[in-house]
């Protein structure tokens, strides 16, 4: 634990135990999403599915990066991730992004993807709101993740016909916002 770092956050009035619990449940959401997105990506096939596969893969890798970036902050603040993988899965901040019953229904897969991203956007907005102007490091991390989740949402939303995303797919490395926490 980073003793003074935690103390600095406590002094702002933030309930650090609650914050750590939130970070753990969001770390769980990221890792479980990485797992479920693997299944979704595998099933994005055919004329409709192949065009979406690449952004699903980018979102999948970036969600894993989010997990990797969150874990050090959890430990800095005196928390720890559960020793049991089942327990970790069950505390996820977001519902499982499960494969739809009809695995060939690309639109249904897109709806699962966009709902997962929307849950993440809400979750990191919540953490940013809690930490803004108080816990600078957690805020910086949550904001970096939020930037990527917003882009993921807009990619999938565009494919659902909700309007242009205003974005293009990643060029170059993944996680342009979060990579500074992964070095």
């Amino acid at each position: 634990m980073a003793k003074v770092a935690r103390e600095m956050v406590e002094r702002t009035g933030i309930n650090v135990d609650e914050l750590v619990e939130l970070l753990i449940s969001n770390a769980s959401a990221e890792l479980t999403t990485f797992y479920y997105y693997t299944i979704l990506r595998v099933n994005l096939i055919g004329l409709e599915g192949e065009g979406i596969k690449e952004i699903a893969e980018t979102a999948r890798i970036e969600d894993r990066n989010h997990f990797e970036a969150l874990v050090p902050r959890i430990y800095e603040l005196g928390g720890k991730i559960p020793g049991n993988m089942n327990a970790f899965h069950d505390i996820s901040a977001c519902p499982p992004a499960s494969l739809p019953e009809n695995a060939t229904d690309v639109k249904a897969i897109l709806k699962v993807l966009v709902e997962a991203e929307r849950c993440a956007v809400r979750g990191y907005t919540h953490i940013c709101n809690l930490t803004a102007g108080k816990d600078h490091r957690t805020y910086d991390l949550a904001l970096a993740i939020l930037n990527e989740e917003v882009e993921h949402e807009s990619w999938f939303s565009e494919f659902l016909g909700e309007g242009p995303s205003g974005h293009f797919m990643r060029r170059g490395e993944t996680s342009p916002f979060v990579s500074k926490f992964l070095r």
């Binding site: 609650e18 939130l22 449940s25 901040a93 956007v121 907005t125 919540h126």
Partner: protein
């Protein structure tokens, strides 16, 4: 429609087998079926069995997410 006091509502806290109800702007919703209220808590800080009107107004979502769940009564502030 059943009328709940805050004390009545507090029994529906989603814990120990209790149903999970929350109030928002005078209506009481049954959120027992919501993934987000497992164990009676939503994102660590928001508890079932209480009036969440102020908290929802500050939440990163609007009330439409709550309105997907059945209304089971109204909330009175008279004890």
């Amino acid at each position: 429609m059943r009328v709940f006091t805050l004390q009545d509502l507090s029994r529906y806290n989603g814990r120990d087998g209790n149903l999970a109800y929350v109030a928002y702007r005078g209506l009481v919703y049954d959120v027992s079926g919501s993934y987000f209220f497992r164990g009676g808590r939503h994102w660590v800080r928001h508890n079932a069995g209480s009036d969440l009107s102020d908290e929802i107004d500050q939440a990163p979502h609007d009330e439409s997410l709550l309105q997907r769940f059945p209304v089971v009564g109204s909330l009175t502030m008279v004890e």
